[in-house]
Symmetry: C2
Subunit: 350 residues, 2 copies
């Protein structure tokens, strides 16, 4: 156990934006900001496997802190992987170079769901909480720590498909053919996710993000029936007073349903204009986003011009957290990421 954390200032720009309160500038962080585009990250990664980086709290904490030092972003996000929860459930997890994560024993029927194990998160995922404590201890008061988890649909579809998928045939087949097994799987995953996110909060995370990376594969009707109740149960089960960012990729037609499932802030990707998304979401909810990550391959003047377009869409309305519309890509020049952060800070200063 490390020393008790210094909590973040509840009036820092990021936490004010989570509450839709005005701040002296628009806060910005970048999805996957602790990642391969940073040479100091690649330096550590060259010595240990991806899973080992996740499991060694001092390494996870170090890479979490790297973008705070390098970019000057307004929040840290814990370095971890959305699939870490899958291993203690008993499905098996492997990261291999090139092919990405693989589930060793895909869960495709009720029998496999029943065979999953209950998870005592402090025992099996305590290394994540310890990393959170180390990060919090290493952060200035002005910088909050964001905890996160994959949303249950995204975790379930990974467990069912066994790896990345294009058409989600196994996932949807289970939904359509055995909805009882589907809901049982979602409940089991959700129970783990509630404990996992609360554990991160107890260890020092002042906000959490629920990533529904793959939810854009679903029709609105399927989301409503097969996913929304589970995401809602998770969000309702988190420690009160801790802001939740609810983000889906390619989810433009699901925004209202995701908002109804919960979240103080809804993450938008670049496929929807921010003003249009925020108008649909209505008052009382913040938005996060939504610059196309590939814009960082253009040059700093163009990055600035396009960042301004996003800020203009937000119109200075309190409750906007600037971010990319998806994770930063591994080959982006670091200078371009810095240019984005600087431009957002400068152009949004009030």
């Amino acid at each position: 156990m490390s020393k008790p954390a210094t909590p973040a200032d509840p009036n820092c720009p990021f936490l004010r934006a989570c509450r839709c309160e005005p701040a002296d500038h628009t806060p910005i962080w970048i999805m996957r900001q602790a990642g391969r585009y940073l040479p100091e990250y690649r330096e550590i990664r060259s010595k240990v496997s991806f899973l080992e980086m996740c499991r060694r709290p001092e390494l996870a904490a170090e890479v979490t802190l790297q973008p705070i030092r390098r970019l000057g972003v307004d929040a840290a996000i814990l370095f971890a992987d959305i699939l870490l929860v899958v291993e203690p459930m008993g499905a098996g997890l492997e990261f291999s170079a090139g092919t990405g994560p693989r589930i060793l024993r895909p869960v495709r029927d009720g029998r496999a769901v029943d065979a999953l194990q209950a998870v005592e998160v402090s025992a099996s995922l305590g290394y994540v909480f310890e990393a959170a404590r180390l990060v919090r201890a290493g952060l200035p008061r002005q910088i909050p720590l964001i905890g996160f988890a994959g949303a249950p649909f995204t975790v379930a579809s990974y467990m069912i498909e066994g790896g990345a998928s294009r058409d989600y045939v196994h996932t949807k087949s289970l939904m359509y053919r055995d909805s009882g097994a589907w809901h049982a799987l979602m409940e089991r995953i959700s129970t783990v996710l509630i404990d996992y996110l609360n554990g991160q909060i107890d260890a020092g995370a002042q906000a959490v993000q629920l990533f529904d990376s793959w939810v854009g594969a679903l029709s609105p009707g399927d989301y409503r029936e097969f996913v929304q109740p589970h995401s809602a149960r998770i969000i309702a089960g988190l420690r009160p007073g801790v802001p939740v960012i609810h983000f889906g990729t390619g989810a433009a037609t699901l925004l209202e349903l995701m908002r109804d499932a919960g979240g103080d802030v809804i993450g938008l990707d670049w496929r929807i204009e921010l003003a249009d998304g925020w108008r649909r979401l209505g008052n009382g909810v913040g938005v996060q986003g939504n610059l196309d990550p590939t814009v960082l391959y253009s040059d700093p003047p163009e990055i600035r011009r396009r960042a301004k377009q996003v800020l203009d869409q937000a119109g200075g309305r309190p409750g906007h957290i600037f971010n990319l519309g998806h994770g930063i890509l591994p080959t982006v020049p670091v200078d371009h990421a810095i240019a984005l952060v600087d431009a957002v800070h400068e152009m949004s200063s009030r």
Copy 2:
């Protein structure tokens, strides 16, 4: 040259729907209906390569006709590939088992764009027109033939990336860093596509579909600036009086922009509720879609129940063409595809 074609009946249900006129039932066809889920297709495919199937008019015509016989759909769609146009332009094209199509000389800068060749479609793509003639000659009058092409964004991004992509880094980098080269590439592709589609029409296609399979990667602003003028130019350049179906995947936020680019019918995928999409598109335009293709992995009663939901969303309004929201998947049981067609015909009979 084959014998002159018998034109399709302009009052068949499919062509009436294209004009938003009432028909005695809702017409249905299925994207990729000439495909691997059919044993009679696999039988032919087992003997020749994919490209050879495209290039031998008698084989392309045969597989185009197979689903007409087997499923009883209301329209035929020419068997071909959206990338056939790339080869005569000089970028090189290869289909290899497992990895899908590959562009041998990706086009990533202005120099590469300038090096592309002008295309005389009747010389280099005449085999497609000959296949269309053979199909038309083999079809009953009640069944129209749909010609098709990839939309210029989808073709361009394939040419630039060299193969399938997740993030379109090269494509968007060209857009953002050298918009002159981008527009030059789109113009060259569009010129070929106009001739190619008009060639199909002259050979017997009574309607055409423009497939923008990858357009969902774009923000609305980027679509407007980098794509819309080119798609609009193509649609405006086609033979008058021939209905155009304009379809994009994951394009829920682009629907109005795609409609403004042109099309008598806008294709919807399953990510948007059909009623919602049609309401946004307004009067004067038909819609095509939009059952999730994975529904065909459930059983016939569930397929029927979900087909009814789509028909209910359309509400019997003239101008609805039933289809999946994307191509039929190769492992779908044929009986399930037949069950869908039968259910749509029966439930929509007026």
